[in-house]
Amino acid sequence: MEHNVTFLGYIPILPLIGAAVLGLLHVGTCTRKPIHEKIYGVFACIGPLLSFVLALRVFFTLKGMPEEARYLTQEAFTWFQVGDLNISMGFLADPLSSLMLLFVTLIGSLIHIYSIGYMSGDKNFGKFFAYLNLFLGSMLVLVLGDSPVVMFVGWEGVGLCSYLLISFYCEDTDNVLAGNKAFIVNRIGDLGFVLGMGFLFWAIGAQGFDFMSLKANAHVLAPGVALTVCLLLFVGATGKSAQIPLYVWLPDAMAGPTPVSALIHAATMVTAGVYMVARFSFIYAHVPLAGEIVAWVGILTALLAAIFGMFQDDIKKVLAYSTVSQLGYMFAGVGVAAYSAGIFHVFTHAFFKALLFLGAGAVIYAMHHEQNIWKMGGLKKKMPKTYITMLIGALALAGCPPFAGFFSKDEILFSALATGHYGIWIVGVLVAGMTAYYTFRMIFVVFHGEPRDQEAYDHAHEAPAVMTVPLIILAVGALCAGFLNLPAIFGGHQQVSHWLAPSLTEHHPHASLFVEIIAIGASVLAFVIGIRAAYKRFGAGAEEPQFQGFAKFAYHKFYVDELYDAVFVQPYKRIGDAIRKTIEPSVTDGPVTLAAKVYMIAGAAFKVFQVGYVRVYALYMIIGLSVMSLLLSQSLN
């Protein structure tokens, strides 16, 4: 079986070419007469769609291979090679990356199509699609990279694109600040990634620094080094996937256009961290302590974000915190070594979260860029398609059987329970209830009850087909994706887990039927309690609540942003200012200035002797002569 293929590289390159073409078109024309939007739209969608087709080809090629040797590689060229370090610009498609490829390209393409409707009329239409293509290309590099370094290219690339897209409406300072925040926080994570790569390289990289060689050599890693590498890489993951303590950028990232939120902050970019941990499962599997830390960080993030999500009044912020929360689940999954469960949740989450974001986008679009849920209400009648699709998404997110989210979330919670992580399981179930609560709080407030803003309600209308069709496709996905990994208890075969098995180093826990039933029962119970609470409170319309006490504290996100600002940002700026104003002129430049000053003072002192009278100068000469004479006559004796 031939493993070397030549078409892998085209998958990321096609969107990148698209980005270059669109970018040049936009730059070349934006100050003069803009090009028609349709041209941009066509160019923008070609790349992602072709990539999707290629992704399908990859999938079926892999499917045709024997299970234990399912991989495709392409080594385009030697990227850089210094001494033992040999990095080739190479791509690797194995079951893990092929799964990622499929949904990234599919959802990416759908979002592109949707955006044609959503962004119409924007004067930076071309720029938007250039960034979007660039983003998708970077994400595909990330997924396909055959070594950590190539992966890092995509890793940083998506960070850059998130910066560009979040600060897309760049005339507003807040948006740009949100973009900066995203990029800088991501960079902090990237530092962890780079350092992790460094340690990994000096430990086992000399025999080859691509994933396959690393996997083959992982067993020689000393436990201490392995733990260091795992934790550093996890720092990278927390940055990209918005986990404690680096989650703060994601809610702010909602400043970008809504399709961007869907693409970056729900379906693709934020999942990169989970993907990376799964990619490095061959190391994590050897270091249970690292997994433990990952799992706890993940589940605590899930809890924290769920608390925040319960009190937000911006529709996108609710979704943003739900994303952070779901990402926490995924990390809990990969942390308890249930990598396939984590990845499966990535997969299902991509569908329903993209769906929810795009639906929210349609609502915002209909409400003329109003994002406060307390200004909406009763939209069910005006936007039936959007309502239905979003309801499906919400059910999936809340974990209602048999929607996609139920199976994947349940898989994670079951794994936690089966591996004896009871604490994680309890928190997980609790978060599941909270998820159901805040999701349906949003649905009820937005779509049910009476309109709160009559004028906006009158103008609201269903989105055009270019926007609703992607919604429907995604809704189908959100409805059915869960069945792909149907566990045995429901008569399924866990196809996704089996598909992923060759890429991952994991041991499926064997647990009794009883445990499985407890897990499922608890999840369903949590869902029911959550949705009931939401219905009681908001089902028949409710007024905007005034938050008191803990609720107010949670509404302000525990003041974490303010804390970070006071602890990191302000001191940083103050140190900079202090250096500029005092340290630089007086301390570092001090010796130099001092030397100059001493010189000047000495000059002023010696100036006294420069009286200007010729005869005094002669006198100096004679005095010198006399002194010399005295000395000489001493020696003459």
């Binding site: 100036k607 002797f609 420069q610 009286v611 200007g612 009278y613 010729v614 005869r615 002669a618 004679i622």
Partner: protein, 98 residues
């Protein structure tokens, strides 16, 4: 015997120095310099006599020529200064004061 001539030369030279550093009158300073030149000349000639070589005489001639040139220039400068400042005091000219 030559020592006595040279001693005279030393005395004259020292008197010249004293004149240069302690007087303020331009002319006196100038003539003190001439005195030092003459003292040097005397030692040239005396040493020429000692070594029976006339190179010292030639040098003395040279010194005189230089003295003449110096006199011409220096006096021109004195005239100029006198024209500008109306004084013959060297202390008036202290443009180099730091």
């Amino acid at each position: 015997m030559i020592q006595s001539y040279l001693t005279v030369s030393v005395i004259l030279f020292c008197l010249g120095i004293v004149g240069v550093i302690s007087r303020r009158n331009v002319f006196t300073v100038f003539m003190s310099i001439e005195l030092m030149l003459n003292a040097a000349n005397l030692s040239f000639v005396a040493l020429a006599r000692l070594h029976e070589s006339m190179d010292g005489h030639v040098l003395a001639l040279m010194v005189m020529a230089v003295a003449a040139a110096e006199a011409a220039l220096a006096l021109a400068v004195v005239i100029l200064l006198h024209k500008h400042k109306g004084k013959l005091d060297t202390n008036v000219f202290s443009l180099l004061k730091g």
